[in-house]
Symmetry: C2
Subunit: 429 residues, 2 copies
Amino acid sequence: MLRTHFINQIVPQMEGKEITLAGWVHLVRDLGGKKFLILRDKTGLGQIVIDKNSNSFQVAKDLTQESTIMVRGIVKADNRAPNGVEIHAIEVIPLSIAKSPLPLDVSDKVKADLDTRLKERLLDLRRLEMQAVIKIQNNVVKSFRETLYNEGFTEIFTPKIIATATEGGAQLFPVIYFGKEAFLAQSPQLYKELLAGAVERVFEIAPAWRAEESDTPYHLAEFVSMDVEMAFADYNDIMNIIENLIVNMVQYVKKYNENELKTLNYELPEISKPIKRITYSDAIEMLQSKGTNIKFGDDIGTPELRILNKELGQDLYFITEWPALARPFYTKRKDDNPEISESFDLIFRWLELVSGSTRNYRREVLEKELKARGLNPINFEFFIKWFDYGMPPHAGFGMGLQRLMIMFTGLQNVKEISLFPRDKKRLVP
Amino acid sequence: MLRTHFINQIVPQMEGKEITLAGWVHLVRDLGGKKFLILRDKTGLGQIVIDKNSNSFQVAKDLTQESTIMVRGIVKADNRAPNGVEIHAIEVIPLSIAKSPLPLDVSDKVKADLDTRLKERLLDLRRLEMQAVIKIQNNVVKSFRETLYNEGFTEIFTPKIIATATEGGAQLFPVIYFGKEAFLAQSPQLYKELLAGAVERVFEIAPAWRAEESDTPYHLAEFVSMDVEMAFADYNDIMNIIENLIVNMVQYVKKYNENELKTLNYELPEISKPIKRITYSDAIEMLQSKGTNIKFGDDIGTPELRILNKELGQDLYFITEWPALARPFYTKRKDDNPEISESFDLIFRWLELVSGSTRNYRREVLEKELKARGLNPINFEFFIKWFDYGMPPHAGFGMGLQRLMIMFTGLQNVKEISLFPRDKKRLVP
């Protein structure tokens, strides 16, 4: 018996047609001697009616929630049913009977806390809310790639096992690589820069790792990093690309995920070009005028970002031109003011989504910037040696997919978004 | 000064127009008191002419191969020039002067061996041959995703740091995860199966790792794995999907990478549906009839695959229904013949590209199959416990991108294809 249709393909115009569905038992109700079975497949929910005197009635009695089944039946238009149709069952074939009770209620009658949800994650991912998140994420990523393809970008796959710390920082996971110590890449930063020096316009969507000790709603030990690097470009070009990316993603999700946004009861922020750009210096001034005692050179933390969000009246804004020494060694300083850098962060309300900059492309500048940060250029020779061989000026950014998805779903914790999140206490499932 | 065009956008119809290009000095020639500079950008090569009495002549004298420059000039149609156009330089601005001599000749006048190429990889990736490989790979991956999107598949991101060996095998890289031992995933196998149990049709393109001790042209310690898993489907459905994927990829590359195939001097194999399917048993019989002393249960090695390739007269063929015990524990046995399994490999000439099967979806069967392979079900409880909660029948496959690219480029070694390959002796660049 083969599935002939997905649930969302069944419409009232198919009245009388015999079809076969496959999916999960979302709910079973007894009513007036009949069984009403809500079947779930990847396209949604559908109502199956099983008559008391049908052969399937006995079979249906043993069906627990979340069992997988196939159903052969006849389409009946019915205004009272969801989507205006129900299926009158001819045959119900159980495929796998689920244990009862379930450790997590997929039909959402009983709400569970996040720890339980992540522990029983497979069941949690079957909840309509998580199905919506997964579908929206699929389109966010798809739209991201489509925009970049249209701008002539090429997809790259950079190495994830690396010999040295990418940016000289800590927070690396050590790997035992054929008996030698190596590390998991925190970011494809240096490799994407090198590839911009060969392929010009590159992007990558791939895992990246940070050994975050702290447990926050915005950090994962393993996350999906969306990276872009572009030769013969500067940070303004990159901000323009990000504007296009974001606006296209928002339009795409609005167009293709109307149902999922409804399921999440979430309204996407209105985003239009240009996205507000405020310099770091102006941001500091604004914060000082609001009575905070922040000063030039300080990081702008969440409480301050909340103030900026309110003052600017913008869901999304760039903070540009950060102090040079607050940024990594590969960040280019401004030619006319070397205290500040050609850099930016993109902020959603009070959450950093993107960090980007013009990069240094001269070996002697890279060496100077490494030293200015107490790093030894010799340890970065594997990277800076290539700058002897004609590196173009270039710029780029990195964006965390799970953080970006907070903007697209209204969820509040990146651990809800990652399918199987990894953090200090989670290595399974 | 901003780039106004890419090189491949300059056509004879633009005669007299002032344009600005950016790129690398591919070659410089002196001829008749003029300099002929071949400029390279991501779209190809273009010819720049610099007159002896122009301001740029002195600048051009210092330009070494692979330096990055910008060039402002006037388009002149000229039949003798490549693409029928050359640019008469008004201004040449050096951006980064490359050291000379280069450790690797990007213009390919001097051929280097693979070790040197991988050591000087950034320069190697600028060679037109590698540029072609990168562009073809971009389209192979793009076409793969497009076909799957059209079939209703959703992109997933599975965890790469895992607690236990995926398939009970060795060859894992240990990771120190917050002081505990964990491993890098050999494959997303178990997670993609679980996700088929929530999302039905899923795919992932992501790194995977095998601690391969041996140095062969077909193995990498880190490779890109293209994975598909589909609920309510069996191995025949999956082979049908693979046929569509391969045929679409071949058409896509033929259509959009004509120039790159020419650069590689490579002709794609003719592939049409259906792709030949031969059972393992028939393959063994055919090999025995050709005088090999292979017997049922043996693996089919490269020498035997060469014979099959010749006998079948096919570039691409499936070997189906392998002995059950030759396949991993998650592989489903045939209902009517439990000695053999619902499985297949896809072979390109004599190279395995894909491995796939119908999977087991009943807990008791999984437990039995684990035991039959000397594995302890308790160690796989994190996986098999979910089979208590309504797993659908499902099937899927895994495909190595770099191996697939051998078919699309004619290159002979996956290390040439991986941008920065990782193997026992390579951790940099």
